[in-house]
């Protein structure tokens, strides 16, 4: 691990001032992802700005029913928060399906939003990777791509966004608040992560020097139930091969409202409006769920090793919906 300078910020203004719109600087909170990548030599910050002293550790219920989560709330604290377990169980399930106890104890909400891909080509500095080194090529497209995306990829990049938490948030609907020299601004969660397209190095809509201060969940959908289902090789401590966050509200046997988000198969936390459209107003039956699953994966690209993830993701959708409507 190369060396770097280290600074500690005490408030948000200080944080972005210290960062100074300097692309050789990075913020560090829990550090579980950043230090990993610095050790791998795939991120080489010259300066780290420690944001752990920022007053962003609160979870606050807003008057309009939304839940405002401080950037520094740990994954563990968020997963076990009573407001989350009761009103947003899908988020709690998603968080607890991710990583390990020790990592969740340290990883923060904003850090998880900023989590970078696990693509082994990205994570090895001697491999070609357009995300890490624009123009160097994509090792995965012609290489091993079992862990890669079938949705949202481009001819430049098929790296999967690895977060479980973000899939839960994507289904619930949320707003990301960022703050920087130009003041605070809000970004809908769905617009925050960017598709790779021709610029896979651009992963999110965060401007230089800005940092995330909060993630605010939309008010829960009245009467909705939710579930997060994660499928992987082993039973725990592994990134998703396919996962599904389902939020469904029924009127009798008819689906009034549905949110479907997918993980492990897409280049960003994937909200499937196609699946949601296929569900709304339909009876909550296996046939409907199958149609939704087909709709969600209609545009999927079956890369050599990842082709199985298309049927796997469909299964995740159908089972998650069956569970939540049971």
């Amino acid at each position: 691990m190369r060396n770097f300078a280290y600074q500690r910020a005490g408030n948000v203004t200080q944080a972005y001032t210290l960062h100074g719109n300097d692309n050789s600087a990075d913020f560090i909170a829990g550090g579980t992802n950043l230090i990993d990548m610095v050790k791998l030599d795939i991120m080489r910050p010259e300066r780290l700005v420690d944001v752990n002293l920022l007053p962003l550790t609160e979870i606050e219920e807003l008057d309009d029913g939304r839940l405002k989560i401080g950037a520094l709330v740990t994954n563990t604290d968020l997963a076990y928060d009573e407001r989350v377990t009761t009103r947003y169980p899908v988020l709690s399930e998603a968080l607890l399906a991710g990583a390990s106890t020790q990592l969740r104890n340290v990883a923060t909400t904003a850090g998880n939003v900023m989590q970078r891909t696990r693509c082994p080509y990205f994570r090895n500095p001697s491999r070609p990777c357009n995300k890490r080194e624009p123009g160097s090529g994509c090792g995965a497209l012609d290489g091993i791509n079992r862990n890669h995306a079938v949705l949202g990829g481009s001819d430049k990049c098929i790296a999967v966004h690895p977060s479980d938490m973000c899939v839960g948030m994507q289904a619930l609907g949320a707003t990301i608040t960022v703050e920087g020299p130009d003041g605070p601004r809000e970004i809908p969660f769905e617009e925050y992560h960017l598709l790779p397209g021709d610029t896979p190095e651009r992963e999110h809509d965060l401007r230089d020097g800005e940092l995330i201060t909060h993630v605010t969940l939309d008010a829960p959908i009245e009467g909705a139930k939710s579930h997060y289902l994660k499928l992987r090789d082993r039973m725990s401590f592994e990134f998703a091969l396919a996962s599904c966050a389902a939020v469904v509200a029924l009127d009798g046997d008819t689906i009034r409202e549905a949110r479907i988000a997918l993980g492990g198969i897409a280049t960003k936390p994937w909200r499937s409006h196609e699946a949601e459209a296929a569900l709304k107003g339909k009876p909550a039956t296996e046939a409907t769920f199958q149609q939704a699953a087909e709709a969600a994966l209609a545009g999927a690209v079956p890369h050599r090793d990842a082709a199985f993830k298309i049927p796997l993701a469909k299964q995740a959708i159908v089972r998650a919906l069956s569970t939540v409507t049971r």
Binding site: D36, L48, L53, T74
Partner: protein, 233 residues
């Protein structure tokens, strides 16, 4: 040792002290699991007494803990920052570069080699320690971010020469083979047993322990040991 607060710039002193960083007191409310409490490490001046200089497990190679510079009252060397780590009830003041990782500082500077390195990137759990009562992977944590923190390692589990109940249970159940992942397994186990959020059934314990890999595959006995120790913790 200078009083800790002396080297802290004032609240508004932002932008200064790039080399040493900017340390700000902050009144944020404590989080249940907030271990990153870099504030609140009050006077540890007493800890500079010579008694701690050689404490901790020093193996038979007689390595000295490398915190002598601070002990002798010198200013931190260029590029280093002075931190105090409270490890197993003993305060250690030492100078670290920003890229020094907690695990390496424990093992190299403090000769506390009970905490093991198995992957160095948070994928195996061998390096698990408690920081302010919470289990973390010490390989993914910068030492400089733990100024004032309370760290417990496997060397601090037992008290007064007596095995901690988890250690006794691991012994009785043969919950290890090579023993290399064992300190991490036990540190995770103790944290889980103290965590009301983790249910007591086998499946819940297995899930919560899954960040600790045992390549010898002594998982069955580890589970038995944890469930036995549950009665004594």
């Amino acid at each position: 040792m200078a009083d800790k607060d002396d080297k802290r710039p004032d609240h508004d002193d932002q932008g200064k002290g790039r080399a040493r960083g900017v340390e700000i007191h902050d009144a944020r409310a404590p989080s249940r699991r907030n271990f990153l409490k870099s504030v609140g490490a009050t006077s540890l001046a007493a800890a500079t007494a010579p008694a701690w200089a050689r404490v901790g497990y020093v193996n038979h190679d007689e390595q000295e803990p490398q915190d002598k510079r601070a002990d002798e009252g010198e200013a931190p060397a260029k590029g280093t920052q002075r931190i105090t780590l409270n490890v197993n009830g003993q305060a250690h003041t030492l100078d670290v570069t920003p890229n020094m990782v907690l695990l390496d500082v424990l093992r190299h500077q403090l000769a506390l080699t009970g905490t093991k390195k198995g992957c160095d990137i948070g994928q195996c759990g061998a390096c698990t320690v408690h920081v302010n009562g919470v289990s973390i992977n010490s390989c993914l944590s910068l030492a400089v971010m733990h100024d004032g923190d309370e760290v417990t390692t496997v060397e601090g589990l037992g008290q007064n020469g007596k095995l901690h109940p988890i250690q006794q249970a691991f012994l009785d159940h043969d919950a290890y083979q090579c023993g290399y992942c064992t300190p991490g397994q036990m540190m995770s186990a103790v944290a889980i047993l103290n965590d009301a959020e983790v249910a007591s059934d086998d499946a819940a314990v297995r899930e919560a322990m899954s960040g600790n890999i045992c390549r010898c595959g002594a998982y069955k006995n580890i589970l038995s040991a944890i469930q036995t120790a549950r009665k004594n913790v």
